[in-house]
Structures are given as structure tokens and as C-alpha cells.
Symmetry: D2
Subunit: 276 residues, 4 copies
């Protein structure tokens, strides 16, 4: 018997469909839909972020991403703009009508962050930060739960269970690559996890090919693979100028390349019978 309950397919009739309302309409995440989340790794400044947000909104992106609190391996790296970044995200949403998602790192920041954004994200390194899971579980915001980079699918679903057991059923799983011995790429996307999770759970699952691969050239083929494998969406890093990015420039797409990918995704979504 599987140790997770609320997250288990058996506990829910059909698939969970998560709806996020905004002035532009309702974004739906789950079976039957193909959701595209895009934006730069970090919110680096007001002008730049509002600029790219407008462009991405015009392209039809469903959800805007941008980090205000960044988990960095080194204490000496840029760690995000904090509350200032949150304010920029809120402004971007107001201007574009597109809902926004950002990562929260600390239990003490959950209340602050949820006041500014539509969707909370728990990052890979915090997938087993059980206090944080419970805290986002006490909010009424959907939560994108990234898979720990060395977490089994069972542990991942148990992390979702923590959020759900705390009262929040709106969990979106995000496969973002696992750590292996391979050195040519940053992480290894577990593409099989998409269908395995669909078998085990009723929760939506999306894929983040940008963090998973760490190489922009691989983002397009892996994003396409994700849709073909049955994922409910993708999360893509896009930057006006990847080589100027304060973090993760190597894996960010230019706007031109993102436009090409978006066309690919639309074609595949059609083949798969998914609304986009």
C-alpha cells in the first residue's frame, strides 16, 4: 500500500484541475490543459521585469515566473531583491492581467509572499522542509512543488501530502531533473515520472526543462518531450539578454527562441488534444 493518501489517485474522482483567476480570465492547470509558465530566473529590476512581462503576456503565457528570494548554493551569490521583487511581480500582474508565481524559502516569509502573488513555489532544495510545506499548506494559494533533486516519487508525493494534510489541496507537481553521475548536463530530467505520477496521483504535473538541463539548447527538445509524455505544462526561463542574467543565464531562452518553442508547444498540444 502506498503511504500517501490525499495525493493518491484513489482518493479523488478524476484529475485535480486547479483554477487561478485574474483580470484576463481563468488559468487552468491539470489534465486536458497545457499551461505555459515563463519568465526570468530572478526579478532583477523593475523596468526589465515589466518589459519582459508585457511581451510574454502578449505571447499568451499563462503564468509569469520570477524569483524574489533565490536559494543560492553559495552565500556570496545574488539572492534576489526580496520584498522589492514581490512588489514588481504584483505590478507586472496588475499591468498584464497575468497571474504570477514566485518561490518562498522561509516559513517566516509565507504570509508576506502570499500577499503579493497568485501561486507559491516550493523549490527542489526545500521539498523536504516540512515546516515550510505545512506553512504553505495553511494558505489558500496553489503551490508548485518542485521535486527534490534526489527525491523518489514516493517522497515527492508525501511532500505533496504534507501540504494537502495541512488543508491546501491545490498542489502542482513540477519535475525539474534529478542528480545523476552525468556531467555534460546539470541534471537529468526524469521524463518517465510524468506518466508514473499520473498513474499514482490525481495532481497536475508540469516540467521545468530549464533548471533540469542547465543548457538553453536542450530546453526546446526537453519541453517538447514533456508535452508528448503527457505533462500538463512547462515552466521556462526566458530572459531578454541571457548573457547579462544575474543567475542561470546559461539555461535561459532568448525571446526569439522562446517564440519558436511556443509554436512547437502549440502544435504538440493540439496533437495531444490539450487546450492551450
Amino acid at each position: 500500500m502506498k503511504p500517501f493518501k490525499l495525493a493518491a489517485r484513489e482518493s479523488h474522482e478524476g484529475d485535480t484541475l486547479i483554477e487561478i483567476n485574474s483580470s484576463r480570465g481563468t488559468v487552468k492547470i491539470g489534465e486536458g490543459y497545457c499551461t505555459v509558465i515563463a519568465g526570468p530566473c530572478a526579478v532583477e529590476g523593475r523596468e526589465e521585469y515589466l518589459d519582459i512581462a508585457r511581451i510574454l503576456a502578449d505571447m499568451g503565457v499563462h503564468l509569469l515566473r520570477g524569483g524574489a528570494f533565490k536559494p543560492r548554493t553559495s552565500p556570496y551569490s545574488f539572492a534576489g531583491l526580496g520584498e522589492e521583487g514581490l512588489k514588481i511581480l504584483a505590478e507586472a500582474k496588475k499591468i498584464t492581467g497575468v497571474p504570477v508565481v514566485t518561490e518562498v524559502l522561509d516559513t517566516r516569509d509565507v504570509e508576506l509572499v502570499q500577499g503579493y502573488v497568485d501561486v507559491l513555489q516550493v523549490g527542489s532544495r526545500n521539498m523536504q522542509n516540512f515546516s515550510l510545506l505545512q506553512e504553505v499548506g495553511r494558505t489558500d494559494k496553489p503551490v508548485i512543488l518542485k521535486r527534490g533533486f534526489a527525491a523518489t516519487m514516493e517522497e515527492w508525493l508525501l511532500a505533496a501530502e504534507y501540504i494537502m494534510a495541512a488543508g491546501n489541496p491545490r498542489v502542482i507537481l513540477c519535475e525539474r531533473g534529478i542528480r545523476t553521475f552525468e556531467n555534460y548536463t546539470r541534471n537529468t530530467v526524469d521524463i518517465g515520472a510524468v506518466s508514473m505520477i499520473k498513474e499514482l496521483s490525481h495532481l497536475p504535473i508540469i516540467v521545468d526543462p530549464s533548471h533540469a538541463t542547465g543548457r538553453w539548447k536542450m530546453v526546446r527538445p526537453v519541453a517538447k518531450a514533456a508535452i508528448a509524455a503527457g505533462a500538463d505544462g512547462v515552466m521556462i526561463e526566458v530572459h531578454q539578454c541571457p548573457e547579462c542574467a544575474l543567475s542561470d543565464g546559461k539555461q535561459s531562452l532568448t525571446l526569439e527562441n522562446f517564440a519558436v518553442l511556443l509554436e512547437d508547444i502549440k502544435k504538440l498540444a493540439e496533437v495531444e488534444g490539450k487546450k492551450i
Copy 2:
């Protein structure tokens, strides 16, 4: 600088296209084509094999697979029919006109095996059996080189280099999953390897979702992901009666499910602009 030379993209103008002639025409493996290889894990008997070979040939499969020498983790498991299996493969080819591929395990068997089949396969466990690589490198048959289940892409390309340096340029790389900590699936398909290999090398790359996942339900989504990620083909285990199979029944598709997958593959190949 990369340590492989003949396998490196720089050493070859354009992509390598491998052609296999048979009475039915020429099978092409490489960029621009989508090749489907199918058949049971092992050749278990003459009647059964000829039967499924005919059906698969009628469905349009490009290459028939079937193990005559099986590498088994336990010395007490069914290890294949040996030369009798090779004869059945040759007969299937004669009847259907579809070329056949089989694995060779021992340097001493290379001459025997190449007398019966069109394509040689080196399995995951033998990817660094350097004597075997050199021996198949001395034949004039195309070689499907499966990635070692814990091999880096660099080691994999160096294994291809062994075959090429021995005189055989016709190597087809096959991603078949790597070993990770995950227990719900047998192995983890490294979908990103498809595009990374395309960047590094001019050799064709295909994906084996059957061995990679170990679960038949995952074969369809992962095979589709492979095509969307840019793979030049897929290798699929199909069995008339998966639950009766002497090996790997859990991962084999029924003929009905394979037919469904084949339709999916055709649609995706069209989207990708690949001939099938």
C-alpha cells in the same frame, strides 16, 4: 577538447545516415527519419516468432528485434535459444523482408551472429566490453550500441569510438535508461541525452522505452517523448502475450497497444517533419 574523434560532430559533414537493404527496400536510420524497431525481448520459439514477425511487418515496422543470446542477471534464468534463435530470425527476415537485429554477447559469437542478422546489438552491460566493441567494429554490419546503465555520455561516445576506430562507422546509439535511486521504475530515461548527443555527435540516436522503464504503461508516453525530443527512432518490446513471456513480460506491449502507439508515433513524426 572532447576525447572522442570519429564520433564527434566536427569529424563528419552533416549527420550519419545508415542504410540497411532488404527485399522490401532500404531502411534508413538517422536525421530526418523515424525508425521503428519492434519485437519480443527474446526469440522463444519458431512458430511464435514467425507469427509476430508477420504481424509487425504488416504494420510497417522497419526492423525486427529478438534476443537469441540473452544477458541475464542470474545464471538460473532463461538465456535464449542461441543459434536456433538466430535461424528463426533469419527465417523471419526471409518471410517478411524486414531486416533483423539481435544482441551479441561474446567475442567468439560475432562471426556466427553476423551470418544470420542485418544489425548487431551491443547491450548495456557490455558497453565497456572493449574486446566485443572491437570485434563488432571489424564487421560490416551496423551496430546498435546501447548506453551502459551508468555510463556518462562521454563514455558512451568513446565506446562508439572503439567500434569506429576498428573500422565500422555505422553505429546507432540507443538510450535505454540509467540507474538511479528511483524504485517505482526500473531505470530512468535520460531524455535530454537525445539532444545532447545530437549536439556532440553525427551518429543516429534512438530510444528504448521498454527496458528503460520496465513498465508497459510507461512505454507509450516515453516513446512519444523520445520522438518529440528529436530521437531518430524507438525500439519497442511487443509480445503476443506479455504475461506468458519468458523474459521482460512486464514491459512488453500487446499488439493492440503497440498499434495505438504506432499511430501516435506517426502523428508526431509528421509534426517533426520526419519520414516514417
Copy 3:
């Protein structure tokens, strides 16, 4: 150039020696000493804990362990007694004169926990909980920093760097096993990390064979290996009745087996020229 600075060997003259004062004297952790930390996985009740604390103190254990806040994979597992557990730890210390260590999981609990114990522990799952690292870095308590179960040594030292950069130089690294494909044991102890860390850093390093192996029969040989490999100490789970333990009973030693191990450790410490 290595990305860590304060943790790097070059930044410190000789090895860091951490001293913890108590009514019994001063416990020293670092090169030249062999420190034994022992106790049950979790503080399960006042009577039981005080009982085992007295016995372990009499045996000469240098530091008592016991979890008050337990990070559990499932939200439905016993998660510790919380502040009540902290009070029991403080009482055990008062009675025995042996300093105590416990894990802290949430930034909001750091102040509370440090009021009761002598040494703070950051667990494997929180090794990259950067907020927590900074928070324990602002205390004046030594911190046992467990290696993330899939963390590279570089990431581990960067996690130590977070604590040190926040103002706390007293970090004790603890190898507790990494996740691999092996299923017979829970994790795989990276015994080579002991000497590699000694080469890279001036910080003390200890080994936790109990969590690393998950099997009590392996605790003795792996603990001995740790001392022979140059570790500055070991952390051992001991329980009066392993089969009654609320968590991790399978890996806990009985008091009898712990006594045997302690004799082994003393002999090896002597061979290694370490004070115990």
C-alpha cells in the same frame, strides 16, 4: 579555485577545535580527539530518556543526542515531542553534566531550541535550507551540519560557509550517507569524504553510521571504519529497546552492543593517537 572561503583549509591556521563546556568538564571536537555522541533517535518520554542518559553518561559518552523536532518523510509519522522534548534534554544535561545536541528544523524555532541545548544540529534534508543555515549562524552554539543525502562535498562546505559567513565559526561536519541505487542498505556511507574534507577544510568531521546504514548490524563496522579513516568522532543511535522505538529502531544499538562498540572505538582511537 574552490568557491568556499571561511571553510577552506587555507583560511585557518591548523584545525578548528570546538570546545563545549559543561559541569563535567570540556568536550573537545576536532583533530586529535575522538568524540562519541550517542542517544536515541527521538526523545520519546522523560523517564526513558533520563534513564538512558544516565547510563550513557556513566559509559563516558561525550555528548547526548535526542530529537525533539523530527523531520519525517510522511506527515502521519511521529514528529517528536517539541518543547517538551527540549525540556527533557535540558534536564538530562543537568543530571548527568553531559552536554546535549538536538536538531532544529524551522527558523522560527532556533531561538527556542538554543535556550535548551549546547549544540544545534541541521539535518540532511535541511542542508540547503539557507534561511535556517543563516539563523543558526547567528547563534553562539556549535552546529553539527549533516551532509545532504545527495550533496556534493563542495555544496556541503558551502552550506558550512553560510553558517560561518553569518558569524558562527563553530561548525562540525557530519557524514551520514548518500543516496545511491543500492537497496540492501538505506544509504551509502562515503568513507572517503572523511579524508577529502580534511584535505579541503579545517573543520571537524564526524560520521553517523546509524542513519547512514539503516541497519544496526552495520553500525559497528562502519563506526570503526570512520575512526580508522580519520574521523573526529561518531554519532550513534542507542535505545534501551530498539524494537519499541517510535522511530528508526532498526538502526539503533542496544546498550549491550553499544558497550562493545565503545571498547572497539577506544582501541582504534589509541592506535590513531586520538584522545577519547
Copy 4:
């Protein structure tokens, strides 16, 4: 139930003790003994090899190692002297009276190799080369079976089972490190495997810290850890001039450092009650 039979502890009364006779006496490998195998990675030339063989013999080494057929990741690396190397090994044995061990890579070479040496070695990359396992299983020479760098313990014991089922009960298991995500070291020694294998099997187990770590500075601490963990011996790479070595110089000990390690090993063997 475990899938291996002949290798299983239950199938044998007590531990297997393997005896190798030579003009100097009988070398014993198994419980109660601490066997030291040493020599350069490859036999690079007659003079050099005989020279180091004499020195190692004088130091009391029980078995001399040296590769004549070397499995190299690249086809362009030095692959050993072949039969010439075997002749040098045989001469070294004749002069020193110390038995010799070398790796065999190809089923076709087994007969040749066994004519020259006392112990055959199957390397990590060939642990699941089942034809080779069967072929060495048909000889009457003891076989050192290295663990595949990504093999589970169960697969390792099943590989031993192949040799035993073919008629050769004299298998010596050798842990040589597994592949993980860590990049500071070449492989990660699974020190816990020593005791786990002792629990599962009656076969002797030794450790090769040279290949496992890839760094000579780590060889001493890891070799010591192996003895403390209960290993029946160690296999150490020693070279007169590590920086001139044609292969694996970075992990080879100088004769001076090997002498220091040998003293350590003797002390630990004494503590462990093992004959050396």
C-alpha cells in the same frame, strides 16, 4: 528469498578460505586473515616490474598485481603489453615466490592468461560480462571479482554465482567504489558493503582503495577503514614513480607511502585479531 544460492551464507559452513600455494608458502584469503595485494596498475616494462616486485616481496606483500590487458575508456589509451606482460608477471613470480594476479578481459584470452598467473581478475566493467564469468568459472584459479561501479550487492553476488555455478567456488569479492554524483573523487567506496556482504555470503571480500578514490592521498585512510570495517584484505596500487605511470598515476602510492600504509595495516590487523 535471495536469488543467489552457492554464494549465499546459508549454503556453506563457515567462511570460505582460499589458499594459493607458491614457493614461499601458502597465501590465505578469507576470514581471520588480512591479505595485502600490491603492484603497479599496468605492467609497463620488464625491468621496472621485476624491480618493484622484488621490493614489494621483501616488504611482505602476499600477492603481486599488474595489468597486462587493460580496459581503457578510450581506444587511444595504452592498453597493456598483452602476453609480454603475462610473461613478465610469471617471471616476477618465479624470482620472488609471490603469486601474481592479473585481469582478463576477453573469453578468448582466459586459457592464455591462466597459464601464466595464479589468480584471475574480472574487472568492474566486466562484472556482468556473463560469458567471461562462465569462462573463468571453468578454470581452477581463484577469481577476484570486482564490483561493477553501478552494481547492487545482489547483482554482484549473482555474478559470483555465475562463476560458482560454472564449477569454480574460489571467488574473492573486491569492492572498488561505485559511481555517484560526487566529482572531487573518482568513485565512492561503499564501506558498508564489507559487512553487508559478510552477512549475506561466505565469500572473502577485499577493498581496492586506489581505483575507488582515484587520489593517492585518500588511499591510506580508506585502506585503513577497509580493515577496520572487516575486510579480508586490500589491493593497492604502488609505483616507483607515480607521475611517470602510463595509467592511473594519480592514485598510485610511492614505495615510501606504501611502507607507511603497510605499518598501519599491520597495527589494525592486530587490533582486529587477523593474521597478516
